[in-house]
Structure formats: structure tokens, C-alpha cells
């Protein structure tokens, strides 16, 4: 942690293989779970599993667990801004609903 600690963290082979195994298992889980219908929860379940897989990749394969906190802040900030982008896009998009004509796209389907 100290500023003068230049020695890198070497991830043990066992830990690499364990993370790989967990990612494979979670891939099987996400495919299996997709066979069941949870209604509106489908997308949430799928994204939750993907978030766990992504966290494993970032924390262990990308060494974030042993990284300086500032680098983690940089990366997490990008995720916060991504959430803002998607969140506000979804909030704002319904404002134009009354101006939309369902299935009307003359640029793509010329009359």
C-alpha cells in the first residue's frame, strides 16, 4: 500500500483457476436461468449475474483488488456516468411518446 512499495501483486495460479471456474459456472447459470420466465425480473437476474462475473474479472484478472484506490475511483466513475446516461435516456424518452407514430418509419420503409 505504501508509495514505495513497487513490488507488483502476483496472482497465484490457484486463484486464477478458481476465478475462471466461477466464470464458467456463472455462464452455465445464466444460460440455465434464461430458460425460466420471471417476467420483468428476467433482465434484472441476467444483469445481476453479468455484474458478478464482471466484478470477478475486474477484481482478480484486472488486479483491482490490489490496485491503488484512485484507479478504482476512475473506473467506478465511468460506471456511474454510464448509469446516468442510460437512466436519464430512459426517463427522458417517454416525453416524446405522443409525437411518435407506431411502426411509421418512412426513411426505412419508403411508401
Amino acid at each position: 500500500m505504501s508509495k514505495h512499495d513497487a513490488s507488483p501483486h502476483v496472482v497465484p495460479v490457484k486463484m486464477l483457476l478458481a476465478v475462471w471456474g466461477a466464470l464458467v459456472v456463472l455462464t452455465v447459470v445464466t444460460v440455465t436461468v434464461a430458460q425460466f420466465d420471471f417476467g420483468e425480473l428476467n433482465i434484472i437476474v441476467a444483469m445481476a449475474i453479468a455484474a458478478v462475473k464482471g466484478s470477478l474479472v475486474v477484481l482478480y484478472f484486472m488486479h483491482m483488488r490490489w490496485e491503488r484506490p484512485f484507479n478504482a475511483i476512475v473506473f467506478i466513475a465511468s460506471l456511474v456516468f454510464l448509469a446516468l446516461l442510460i437512466g436519464f435516456t430512459l426517463l427522458d424518452s417517454t416525453m416524446y411518446q405522443p409525437q411518435m407514430i407506431p411502426h411509421y418509419a418512412p426513411a426505412i420503409h419508403p411508401q
Binding site: 508509495k3 514505495h4 512499495d5 513497487a6 507488483p8 502476483v10 496472482v11 495460479v13 486464477l16 483457476l17 476465478v19 475462471w20 466464470l23 464458467v24 455462464t27 445464466t30 444460460v31 434464461a34 430458460q35 420466465d37 417476467g39 428476467n42 433482465i43 441476467a46 444483469m47 449475474i49 453479468a50 464482471g54 474479472v57 475486474v58 484478472f61 484486472m62 490496485e67 491503488r68 484512485f70 484507479n71 476512475v74 473506473f75 466513475a77 465511468s78 456516468f81 454510464l82 446516461l85 442510460i86 435516456t89 430512459l90 424518452s93 417517454t94 411518446q97 405522443p98 409525437q99 407514430i101 407506431p102 411502426h103 411509421y104 418509419a105 426505412i108 420503409h109 419508403p110 411508401q111
Partner: protein
């Protein structure tokens, strides 16, 4: 590294060859490089973010379109490619470990394995793209498949026919601007936007989604941008493979291997989200 690392900036040529003169010591150089790399990765997240926002917008507003169109994609090929990329991430992380420990041969083999997995991924992607180009399952006005192809993938006949440009161009089905504006949106514009996802996914819809081409536009934009990143990743992995063969890396200096590894893991990370979003819509 002690003597070399302590050499001051202007102090002759005692410092290691890989240390740029504007850094005090290798540790500072490594940290600066890592910060730069994480800033680049943050930019990459936002770069893809625009397309993810487009995905979220269209899926929220037309869930049926996604429900039907995604049936064309083979979840088996998608899952296979997910596993391939996970394996490539393992070999890349293992390669970084080899570089840190100064195992030159091990690093070279891990980089070669990573390149092979990347090649397999692109090969599967080629098979998927080829099928869609053959059947004109494409974006915008290039979308013009044979309806029987859509039905083979489990898309109901009325939806398949409604999605074709030739059918929607028929005068009886195309609403004029004036006629279409007032009735449906004013009444339940908000309720369909919020409750449309769970209400009527199964029976043949009264208004079959006609714009399946939007799904393929998003599919090709997202997987195409990701595929370009895979190709770029193969390029930089090939570059550090060449340097590893030359013997550039060791416990004292492996930053390029580390940085390329971070980039490659991000490419894997994005696919981890793309796979369920595109292939597993139930």
C-alpha cells in the same frame, strides 16, 4: 532494482533502460501508466455506453421486437463464444503472472493461447455474420429476409410477414401521418411504455412489431464494435508477443504486458454483458 531505482532523474545513466527520464523511479512510471490505462478503459466503457443506451431505449419501448428478433441468434454459439473469451482472459492473466515472474517461455505460450482463443471467437462470429448476411437479416433498409427463414427460428408467421419492408409498404397497412397521430399514443402512451414488458408477450400480438430491423441494427453495431476491439486486441497481443520473444520483459519491467492484459479483460467484460443482452432474451 534498488540501486537503479534510487538513481535520481538527472544522474547519468545508472537507471534502467525502460525508465523514461521524466519519471523519478520505475514505481512512479508504473503507477502513471496504470492511471493512464484506467482512464482509457473508463473512456471505453462510455464509448460502448452510447450503444448500450440505444439498446436500453429500444428494449424499454418495444420489448416485443427484441423478444421475437433475438430468436434468430443462436444462444449456443453465443455461449460458446462467452466461454472462449473467458478462457482467453485466463490465459492473458496467467501471461501477466508469467511476465511478473520472469518466465519468458511461459509468457510466450500464454500469449499464443490467448491469440488462438481470440481467433476462435472471431471464427464463430464470422459464421454468425455470414448466415445473417446470406438471409439479409441486417440493419435498416437492408433487412429483407425470406419469411420462412424467420419462421424456422420460431418467429410466428404474422410477425415475420409484418416485419418485411415489402409488406409494410402495402397501402392498406401504412397509416397516414394524420390518421396515426391521435388515437393510440394519446390514450395509453405512458402505460405501454412502462407496462408493455410483461403484459402480452405470448399470443400473436394485435400490432406485430414491424421493426425487427432495429434489433439487427443494434446487434451489428454492438457486436461489430466489440469485434473491432477483439481485432485490435489481437494486434497488441501480437506486438507484445514479438517483444516477449525478443526478451524485453521480466520481473523489473512488464508494464506493456500488464496494460494489454487490462485492455483484453475489458473486451471480455463487455462481452459478458453483451451475451445475455442479445442472446438470452426470454
Amino acid at each position: 532494482m534498488s540501486e537503479a531505482a534510487r538513481a535520481p532523474g538527472g544522474g547519468g545513466h545508472e537507471h534502467p533502460g525502460h525508465l523514461a527520464h521524466h519519471f523519478d523511479d520505475p514505481a512512479q512510471q508504473v503507477e502513471a501508466g496504470k492511471l493512464g490505462m484506467w482512464l482509457f478503459l473508463a473512456q471505453e466503457v462510455l464509448f460502448f455506453g452510447g450503444l448500450f443506451a440505444a439498446y436500453a431505449y429500444f428494449r424499454a419501448h418495444d420489448p416485443e421486437m427484441f423478444h421475437y428478433a433475438h430468436k434468430v441468434l443462436s444462444w449456443k454459439l453465443g455461449a460458446f463464444n462467452t466461454l472462449v473469451l473467458i478462457c482467453s482472459s485466463l490465459t492473458m492473466a496467467w501471461g501477466v503472472r508469467m511476465a511478473q515472474l520472469g518466465k519468458r517461455r511461459g509468457l510466450i505460450w500464454m500469449l499464443i493461447l490467448t491469440l488462438i482463443f481470440a481467433g476462435v471467437f472471431l471464427g464463430v462470429k464470422y459464421v454468425e455474420y455470414k448466415e445473417k448476411f446470406e438471409h439479409q437479416l441486417l440493419w435498416g433498409r437492408n433487412y429483407d429476409p425470406d419469411p420462412h427463414v424467420l419462421e424456422e427460428h420460431g418467429i410466428p408467421e404474422d410477425v415475420a410477414i409484418a416485419s418485411l419492408p415489402s409488406k409494410t409498404a402495402a397501402p392498406a397497412e401504412t397509416p397516414s401521418v394524420e390518421a396515426a397521430v391521435p388515437p393510440p399514443p394519446a390514450a395509453d402512451g405512458e402505460s405501454t411504455a412502462h407496462g408493455g414488458a410483461g403484459t402480452a408477450p405470448d399470443e400473436g400480438p394485435a400490432h406485430p412489431p414491424e421493426n425487427l430491423h432495429i434489433f439487427f441494427g443494434i446487434y451489428f453495431a454492438l457486436t461489430g464494435l466489440h469485434g473491432l476491439h477483439v481485432i485490435a486486441g489481437m494486434g497488441v497481443i501480437g506486438w507484445i508477443l514479438k517483444r516477449a520473444v525478443r526478451g524485453d520483459f521480466g520481473p523489473e519491467y512488464f508494464t506493456p504486458v500488464d496494460m494489454v492484459g487490462l485492455y483484453w479483460h475489458l473486451v471480455d467484460l463487455i462481452w459478458i454483458f453483451l451475451f445475455p443482452l442479445l442472446y438470452l432474451i426470454s
